[in-house]
Structures are given as C-alpha cells and as structure tokens.
Subunit: 160 residues, 2 copies
DNA sequence: TGACAGTAGTTGTTAGAACAGGTATTATTC
DNA sequence: GAATAATACCTGTTCTAACAACTACTGTCA
C-alpha cells in the first residue's frame, strides 16, 4: 500500500528514489530503446513502427475491412491521428480505402497486395529485432514480464 | 532456446503470436500509456516529460554544472537533440548556460532558482501519476518488474 | 419532419523527435 | 608548430504525434 523508500520521497530524486520511480524509469528507458531498435529494423523497408502495426492490424482482419477508429482501437497504444497514418499508407499504395455505401460516415480500409508483400518482407527484420531487444530474457521471464505489464494495463480501461 | 509458439510464426501475427511478440506488445502499450499519463500530469506546469527529466538531472547534479552531452548521458532514453531541449528550458528561464573558460567547447548548464521552484511544484503531480500508473502492482511486483527490465537494458551498452 | 444529439473522419496547428551535416575548439602527431 | 583528428555543440530539415476544432452523416424522438 506504500513505498519502501525511507520517507515520502524528499526533494532529492535519483537519491532516495522510490520503488515506483525506479520501475517507471526502467520501463521508460527500456521502451525507448526497444522503440529505436524496432524503428531501425523497419527503416530499410520504409515503414515506421506505427505504420507496421497498422498493416498488421489490417492483415489480421484480412477480408473484413475496418473503419478508421476500429483500427485505432486495435493498435497497441491508443493512437490518435489514425486518419493521417492511413493517409500515408494509402499514398504508398499499401492500403486502399473507400466510403461505405450503407453508412457514409464509415471508411472501409483494407490492406492491398503491395501492403501484404511489404509486410511479409519486413516481418522477419521486425521479429529479429524483437528477439534481439529482449534476448537477455528467457521465455519464462518474457512471459512473466508480459504478465506484469498486462496487470498494469488492466487498471486503465481508457482514461478518466 | 526458442519460442513456445506452434511453429516459426506463420504469416499470421496476433494469431499464433510468440511469447516475445506478446512481451514486446505489452511493453509498448504500457509504456505508451505511462508516457501519456506522465505527460498529462506535467502539462499544467508547462513541462514535457523530457524537460522534467532534464531538470531532474540538473537538480541532482546540483552545484556541479553539466555539459550538454553529459546531460544526455544521464537521461533515461538516449536522447539526441539535447541542445534544443536545453534551449527551451533556457528560454523559459529554468536553466542557465555559459561557455566554459577553460574549454570553450563546453557549455556549462545549471538549473536556476525558478527551475528548482517549478521542479518542486511539479514533482508531486509527477510522482502521483507514477503511482497511479503502476498502482495495480504491489511493491514487490514493481521491484520484480524493474529487475526484469534492467536485465534487458544490460544487454545493450549503446548500439552496434 | 425537423431539431437534437451522437458518431466517424478530417483538417489546422503546434511542438517535439530524429537524422544528418556543419562550426568552433581542443588534443595529437609528426 | 602546422596538419590532422577528435570532441562538443549547433543548425537545417523532415516527419510525426498530439490536441482541438470542424464537417458530414446517421439515429432518435417530439
């Protein structure tokens, strides 16, 4: 229900840092490193991590073309600005969009053949970067890590 | 020495996702959420998380004014563009800089009184956001999380 | 049917991150 | 002591994330 730090965390920061602060610091540092590693892996393919994730989402939905906000929901971090993310993918010919006939507010988005091809080309680099980034942990530790992180996520349905 | 996924990870992604992929996904999602939570906590104070971190570093170094790249080294994620980060802080009057006399390449940077004041004002909001973000985990779990993450970090001195 | 609210996307704008290249200053080597 | 390299920082540029305001369309209910 509280921290192990000596008191309530005095003016000093890195000095008597609380357990929470240490965990946050480690999380941010690790995530930043991971982000860069993944970005570098995708760079030769001309994709950003967000673009790659969006292509994955559309690939996994396969036949069932998705609306703009539906894509946003399925992305890991709640990403605003899905519109322009898809704009870039469309400009690159990796996705195709068209207005729904039934509900003209909706924009059906699906991955193109070129998108599938690029996704398959880039996937090995991406997966290899994932493994490289978490390589120091064995599978059990990775699973445990994922479980701890999932526990954090559960507490925040959206944001109050 | 390998994953628990059925095979070598077929074309599908979220379907037969490997343990590594799941851990990466959880890490990215959690970190993104954390980043937003912290950013929102600092927003009323007119600070970004990067600015807050830089102020912390300079606060912890206290009397000993730091060079530009030294600040970069002490920040969590390896941040390029420290110059402009400090530019903004200087423009806001939160840090002061002056060229070293001995080595005129160096720029000594130190936190100002206004910087200290704002840092102390913002710190409670920040710490509260940290606790809120990791609140679902007890201290033992937080420590375990930090340990796992540190293990990942150890494997990457800089980047090959 | 006509006002009202809710939903789905879009667009404007700002600010920050990332990368590359450039300048000034100091150290090193011959 | 002059050329070379190495260090420390700065600047230009591009791209994207984030927030907010806006338009278009649909559903509801009087």
């Amino acid at each position: 229900m509280s921290d192990t730090a000596s008191t309530v965390t005095p003016p000093g920061f890195s000095a008597g840092a609380s357990t929470t602060a240490l965990a946050v610091r480690a999380l941010r540092a690790t995530a930043a490193h991971l982000e860069r590693t993944l970005a570098r892996a995708l760079e030769p393919h001309g994709l950003t991590t967000a673009q790659f994730a969006a292509l994955q989402v559309l690939h996994d939905a396969k036949e069932q073309s998705l609306g703009c906000s539906e894509v946003g929901k399925r992305l890991a971090g709640p990403a605003p600005d899905v519109t322009r993310l898809l704009d870039r993918l469309e400009a690159a010919g990796l996705v195709a969009r068209d207005r729904s006939q039934e509900d003209r507010r909706l924009v059906h988005t699906r991955i193109t053949a070129a998108g599938e091809k690029l996704l398959l080309q880039a996937a090995p680099s991406y997966q290899e970067a994932e493994v490289r980034a978490l390589g120091e942990l064995d599978v059990t530790e990775q699973a445990h890590l994922a479980e701890l992180l999932s526990g954090i996520q559960r507490s925040c349905p959206s944001q109050s």
